[in-house]
Amino acid sequence: IIASWNETPIKWYPLPIAVGALLLVAIQYRKKVRQAQKEVHVDEHGIEVVKLKGPWHVHVLGALPLRNLSRLWGYVNSFELPVWFRPYGFKFYAFAFGCNLDEIEQDLTAYRSLGEFFYRKLKPGVRPVDDAVLVSPADGTILHLGTITDSKVEQVKGITYSLDALLGVDRPSTVKAIVEHNPDMEVVDDQEFANVNGIEYTLGQLLGGNGGNSSPGSATPSPSASSDRVSSLASSPPMSSSTSAKKNEDEGDASVVEPNASIQDTLARDVSLVKQVGISTAKGFAPGKPKHERRGSSYIKNARPGHSLFFSVIYLAPGDYHRFHSPTAWVVEKRRHFVGELFSVSPWMAKRLEGLFVLNERVSLLGRWRYGFFGMVPVGATNVGSIVVNFDQNLRTNVRGRKPPPGTYNEAVYSSASKLLNGQPLTHAQEMGGFKLG
């Protein structure tokens, strides 16, 4: 073998096959280009439909199994760590990602896994709440902020995405129902009822004295007064709707059933949100507000005269505290869960990947605050694919299985959370939920 290896002469000559292969590739490519030029998508009216192909890195990143990676990351970080290792491991994580260990609620050995440490709570009092109308919902960095013009939200300078893509478009039936429900945001007189534990109170009763008369600027008693009012109401026979009133006549005074304390507290909180913060009730009643200021619903996203739509984007780094709180006193009326990709949402990515926030998995919480529409959208990312909303036990994000077409969402409404407000009421900086690993 060695002799033949050494003695056999080597003769080099060009392989014609490579040339042929190159020729084939060139012909194929030319055919493709010609086809693409010819290919015109037209819809039924013969109008050309332009299909956006999107930037190449969306396809490259989209080809990665980001969701599986995310779930694997979450699974790995759910392993229970030995107690002796926890302080060292979490201190290393804190050092690597800049966490402030002095603020966390428990000692490091109490967290069984990195996933639990990631979803840690803070000590009470380490985050004083400002009394401004809008406070930060989370620890992080302001990525971008500004006003929204023509329903376009600016992602970063020069890159925009549509508000409808972010929040989801109201289904025509919803909009129709809303307009029927609030044709001109008419204020309901105080005959509106709040049904508590089977007992009905009129709004006038609930809000105390002049609650029924909605002349703007009427003195609004402090919330404590209205909550006292509520407790005193609980003992007085409530006015109730016609059917049960008839029954009362037959049986004399209705025996007053004291709503239990928690319902009373809930009612007091809702009443104070209506009075103190001026959030309109389910049917648009907002005492002390000039008529045009009252909004019974929040899905109509165009601002009224004298108002504008604003946005702000807050990026939470891996080392930040990852629970989010309510940025103001508002009522969440519905949520829309968009199953999407789990691209990284780091500032680097946000500058390069157009439409990042409408591609990623996210939960659009829609509602209203004292000035009208209010929306908050936690957006997931590769390492934190799970979005938790404390008052929505049914919400599951980053689940296995077939992805629905982009832009579709499943929706839940929170109308049962509060009859008076037709949604889940949240006060300033109240904890709402958070992001979990995986």
Partner: protein
Amino acid sequence: STIVLVFEAPDDFEFTVRAGQKVKVGQKMGDV
């Protein structure tokens, strides 16, 4: 992860933070 806030407010609403600034829960972000 990221949180996007979209809200309606009077024209004289002003942000008191700017892009790139670090914020904490409860910190003032804007006022009317």
